[in-house]
Symmetry: C2
Subunit: 75 residues, 2 copies
DNA sequence: ACATAATGTTAAGTCTATTGTACATCGTGA
DNA sequence: TCACGATGTACAATAGACTTAACATTATGT
């Protein structure tokens, strides 16, 4: 039971930076999620529901595909 | 308490049609999900995980934003 | 009429995302 | 030094996604 062929990555950290150092706390409020959830997702501990993924993308004014990416695992 | 301001819609039915009448069963197999899950999502009973959403988009060869849309609820 | 394929429904159980709470660390400024 | 804001971790509890299994409906082909 091996590795998965695809993995989901995100650019939340970068996007927070370019959004004027938006805080995890602020992102949590904007997306109506808890701070712990934002931390876990940003760190890649698990991937969000589609609903939350859209709310996060919306908070940054970006299409969802620019915040989360689905690609073949390498290495 | 009240209606949600945004809702998630999907174009799965249309995409199955344009994919040569792809069956729900076939889509389930391609995405490694159960048939019931595909039915429920296509019918909008609940929204999928981001992971499954990506797998569905991948099955159609479309970007995720073309399969699922996030928009203001009207009416 | 009979069989079959596709779709839909329901129920019980499992797994994972999400939450609230609490505490710990680190860097900055007074 | 002390206080504070931002980040991170751990844990128990809840909610929702997902599964398997069983059965019902509809349309199509023979």
């Amino acid at each position: 039971m091996g590795k998965k062929e695809f993995e989901i990555t995100n650019n939340i950290r970068t996007l927070r930076f370019f959004a004027g150092e938006m805080t995890q706390q602020q992102l949590a409020e904007k997306t109506n999620a808890s701070r712990q959830t934002i931390i876990a997702i940003e760190a890649g501990k698990y991937s969000p529901s589609l609903d939350l993924a859209f709310r996060i993308a919306h908070a940054f004014g970006k299409p969802i595909g620019e915040v989360f990416e689905y690609k073949k695992t390498e290495e």
